[in-house]
């Protein structure tokens, strides 16, 4: 019984290490020279160098891409939340016979392969002058994330007892007051973690950013792909670029971990 537990623990840690290994490999590779990086088997002991990072920053303007990623993910998320809150509210608290169907329909739009609409979207953006603009990416990411944001908020709102809102209705006049004093404070952690989720999803999206931007509004996913171009792969530099691209979002995730757990599990578990 007891030795079983120890074995299970060891197994768990081994699996954990295997899952974590690619990230470790990447960070290590980014600190090696190009020659060391392609060595097989990979060397675990080497003299770390920040060389790759300097090259990457000087060759392509990292900060420009990072800034674009931040602007686009934050504003698209804000817009999506602004649209999703009233939508989820009415789905959760004023359900009709067709609410279920509408919710599934909304989610089903996510099942369409994006390649299918690439051409018309590209032409549309070109004609409207939205190519390689922040606004262009913000709009498309808002629309792409809306179904998920609506679903997560809906799931959360649905868990708020109807009677609490009815009590509020008896005591304060107007929907705005109910929203400001009751609904918003009650769901702030859900809104917060939904926002984080949306930011992360946008941060990692590469299909539309690669196809609709060049440099002006290009986010970090474009930045990385410029290092995996066919003219020759540079493992160490690509690793440095990847590390730089992941860094901000990893940091954000780490800082907001507790809030995130609270928001994601409050509706589900408690």
């Amino acid at each position: 019984m007891k030795s079983n537990r120890v074995l299970l623990s060891i197994l768990g840690w081994v699996i954990g290490f295997i899952i974590f290994f690619p990230i470790l490999w990447m960070v290590m590779a980014s600190l090696k020279t190009e020659i060391e990086a392609v060595a097989t088997p990979p060397s675990f002991f080497f003299t770390p160098t920040l060389e790759n990072y300097f090259v990457v920053q000087s060759r392509s303007d990292y900060l420009n891409y990072a800034w674009n990623s931040i602007v686009i993910s934050v504003f698209a998320t804000l817009l999506a939340i602004l649209i999703a809150v009233p939508a989820s509210y009415s789905f959760a608290f004023r359900p009709t016979k067709r609410t279920q169907f509408k919710l599934v329909w909304i989610l089903s739009t996510k099942m369409m392969p994006p390649v299918g609409v690439l051409i018309p979207m590209y032409l549309f953006y070109k004609n409207m002058g939205l190519l390689d603009t922040h606004l262009g990416l913000i709009l498309i990411y808002t629309l792409i994330n809306l179904p998920i944001v609506i679903w997560v908020l809906y799931t959360y709102f649905k868990d708020i007892p109807q009677e609490i809102l009815e009590a509020a209705q008896m005591e304060c006049d107007g929907l705005l007051n109910i929203f400001l004093y009751i609904l918003l404070p009650l769901s702030k952690s859900a809104i917060f973690s939904t926002s984080l989720l949306s930011i992360v999803l946008i941060w990692n999206e590469s299909f539309w950013s690669l196809n609709l931007t060049a440099f002006e509004a290009a986010p970090l996913t474009t930045f990385i792909s410029s290092y995996s171009s066919p003219e020759g792969l540079f493992w160490a530099k690509l690793s440095a670029a990847s590390t730089l691209a992941i860094l901000p979002i990893m940091f954000l995730g780490w800082v907001t971990q507790k809030q995130m757990v609270k928001g994601l599990t409050l509706g589900a578990v408690k």
Partner: protein
């Protein structure tokens, strides 16, 4: 301050007619209980008065003024919900003070009012706590406190005690009754529990399928039920009903006699039967007697010390002046 009048009020949800047409007068200061089984429309009726549901047809008047289409918050009524409906993100103090804050009362005045209500309800120590840190009974008291501070024209209670355990329920029942004695405000109370209705009400409104079956004081309903439904619903244990030959002897289709109005004897009586299961409560014993020619056993209340065994033959006689007679339609014959 608060007489409430319903005139021809009806309510449909889509195609489903929940309340056909209700006329009802609630006088100022009265404690009125709506009682009925689930699906009787009692909660819907309360929610119509509160304004949480729209009236399909008819009129609701407060003190003679039509308020049918007024927003809930403008009606000046306070409601206590079954689940307490406290705001989980606010402390007890904020919960109780919330309606006053919404009404735009100055902070110092709110503080004083909250203090006062907390004192009445024994909540002074808990003012800084969040609802989740309170017991069921305390939560219920906070909900009542939130209703009191507004000094409403009337209180509406929607099965407020059904989430509490038995002992607490009896305590809270007495507290609400004391409150009514002190405030003398109109109260409308919804429950499915006829014991609550009997003990608390000045006036009981018995509902079934959205129709008012009878309106009256508890003892009026107990002594002179208008029909079979009210006769069977009010009183515990349930009234015994007999049909066939036993009933026609009284020129009725059905006769009813309450368990406490049947004399039991081991020697002679009007009806003969065999003792089934018996329930010993200590204070009383209820015997279930299978009488010949009747489908369901008759319940008889005997005093606490009676000892009869399963299968014994006994004789039952009703107290003649306590026999209720009903015609073919279930209406009482008087």
């Amino acid at each position: 301050m608060g007489s409430i009048n319903l005139v021809g009020v009806s309510k449909s949800f889509g195609d489903v007619l929940v309340i056909p047409s209700v006329d009802l007068e609630v006088n100022e200061g009265e404690f009125v209980v709506f009682v009925g089984p689930s699906g009787s429309g009692k909660s819907t009726l309360l929610r119509l008065i509160a304004g949480l549901e729209e009236v399909s047809k008819g009129r609701i008047e407060f003190n003679g003024q039509d308020m049918t289409n007024l927003a809930p918050a403008k009606r000046g009524l306070a409601m206590v919900f079954q689940s307490y409906a406290l705001y989980p993100h606010m402390s007890v103090r904020e919960n109780i003070g919330f309606p006053l804050k919404m009404a735009g009362m100055p902070k110092s005045e709110i503080a004083a009012k909250v203090q006062e209500a907390a004192k009445i309800l024994n909540l002074s120590e808990y003012l800084e706590r969040k609802p989740r840190q309170l017991s069921g009974g305390q939560r219920q008291r906070v909900a009542i406190g939130r209703a009191i501070v507004r000094q409403p024209k009337a209180f509406l209670f929607d099965e407020p005690l059904s989430n509490l355990d038995a002992a607490l329920r009896i305590n809270m029942r007495l507290e609400i009754m004391e409150l009514h004695q002190q405030l003398k405000t109109t109260m409308i109370y919804v429950t499915h529990d006829q014991v609550e209705a009997m003990t608390m009400a000045d006036k009981i409104v018995v509902l079934d399928h959205g129709n008012i079956e009878q309106v009256g004081s508890p003892l009026e309903l107990y002594r002179a039920p208008d029909n079979l439904f009210v006769a069977g619903f009010i009183g515990a244990p349930k009234m015994n009903f007999l049909t066939g030959g036993e009933a026609s002897r009284y020129n009725a289709t059905t006769i009813g006699v309450r368990p406490e109005h049947v004399q039991i004897s081991t020697s002679s009586g009007l009806w003969t039967g065999k003792v089934g299961v018996s329930e010993h409560l200590g204070s009383d014993t209820f015997l279930h007697v299978n009488v010949e020619g009747q489908q369901s056993p008759l319940t008889v209340r005997a005093d606490g010390e009676v000892q009869l065994n399963y299968g014994d033959t006994v004789y039952l006689s009703p107290e003649e002046d306590k026999v209720h007679k009903f015609d073919n339609d279930g209406k009482a014959i008087r």
